[in-house]
């Protein structure tokens, strides 16, 4: 394995681990809420045993809350499953808009911890692309992770997809203004390695306060150099 693929694999593992930790945290929260509501039912049934009247509407409301949490967990696990299966195929047709919404959803909890929200903006005429889904997810995560640190005062990052003639551009807009001496080291080694593997170009435009990730319509399955 050459050094570039080593960097790519490490970035992929880091992304996968981070997402799994976040997902497991969310599932733990869901379990905690279900646990408290089950405990509340137990408390109320204990009261009923001691002839304290319990309103059936109250029980119905608790059951509804448990069902809401089961639904929430179902969505979380479905996303986890989609992420896990994204490594199944090396090259696949992908709707970049859908993938962007998926990544924004996966990153939502981590972003909200920093008080940041992502706003995906879809273009109706954005074409599907043929690419490596997991590498693209990893690349999108690297971009989202950076913009979480570099978000401007609005704390809202707009993520959009638009055709650029040869492929598509994914824009991350709403970054803070960096002074000349503050310019961050982005894109770094991992982003350059991923871009090479995806046949993509990545540019951090400090003046426009945005990142532009340009992807070809069809990824060339070539070994990145290095």
């Amino acid at each position: 394995m050459n050094n570039t693929w080593k960097v790519i694999n490490e970035a992929g593992l880091h992304f996968f681990g981070k997402m799994n930790a976040s997902i497991s945290h969310e599932i733990k929260n869901v379990l905690a809420i279900i646990n408290e509501n089950a405990g509340l039912l137990e408390d109320l049934s204990g009261m009923a045993d001691q002839d304290v009247p319990v309103d059936p509407a109250r029980l119905k409301s608790i059951a509804g809350k448990i069902q809401q949490q089961v639904h929430r967990a179902d969505v979380i696990v479905k996303n986890m499953n989609i992420l896990a299966h994204s490594i199944d195929e090396q090259v696949k047709k992908v709707d970049p808009g859908e993938l962007l919404v998926f990544m924004a959803t996966l990153s939502k909890r981590l972003a909200s911890m920093k008080g940041i929200s992502f706003e995906p903006v879809m273009s109706e005429n954005s074409p599907e692309i043929v690419t490596n889904p997991f590498l693209l997810e990893t690349m999108l995560w690297r971009c989202l992770e950076f913009v979480m640190k570099a978000a401007g005062a609005e704390k809202t990052i707009e993520v959009s997809v638009q055709p650029n003639g040869q492929g598509i551009d994914i824009n991350f807009t709403g970054l803070k203004v960096f002074g000349e001496k503050q310019s961050p080291s982005f894109p770094g080694e991992a982003e350059h390695a991923l871009a090479g593997a995806l046949g993509a170009k990545i540019a951090f435009n400090a003046e426009a306060e945005k990142i532009i990730l340009s992807l070809p319509l069809k990824m060339q399955a070539a070994e990145p150099s290095g």
Binding site: N29, G39, L40, K114
Partner: protein, 119 residues
């Protein structure tokens, strides 16, 4: 015992507060560090049960912000995360026995609250 529950999961803290009331414990709840800071200004609490991971102001940061002003207030940390780093920091701040991983059994939580006050 006056308790403040702080967690960004509203359904968790509201239900927990109700269950504590059945056990004779007066518990208020809020869903952010910012709301907690306001609540603490309004009322004196003996124990704060705080989620470590919350948007903007996490549990550890909250404790560091108020510990000097309210030295008698005891802290119990809850987390769904359970990473080694969280455990290390949480244990350093509140003591290993006052670091709980969700889901938490209510009788265990009540026991920890009493221990915190006795200690």
């Amino acid at each position: 015992m006056r308790v403040l529950l702080i967690d960004d999961e509203k359904e968790l803290v509201s239900t927990l507060a109700e269950r504590l009331s059945f056990r004779g414990i007066e518990a208020d709840w809020v869903c952010s560090g910012k709301e907690a800071l306001k609540k603490i200004e309004e009322k004196i609490y003996d124990v704060a049960v705080v989620d470590i991971k919350m948007p903007k102001i996490g549990g550890i940061q909250l404790k560091r912000m108020i510990a000097d002003k309210y030295p008698d207030m005891k802290f119990i940390f809850m987390t769904g995360h359970g990473s080694e780093e969280d455990f290390r920091v949480g244990s350093e701040e509140a003591g290993e026995q006052f670091y709980l991983v969700k889901p938490v059994a209510i009788e265990e939580l009540v026991k920890k609250m009493k221990q915190a006050l006795d200690g």
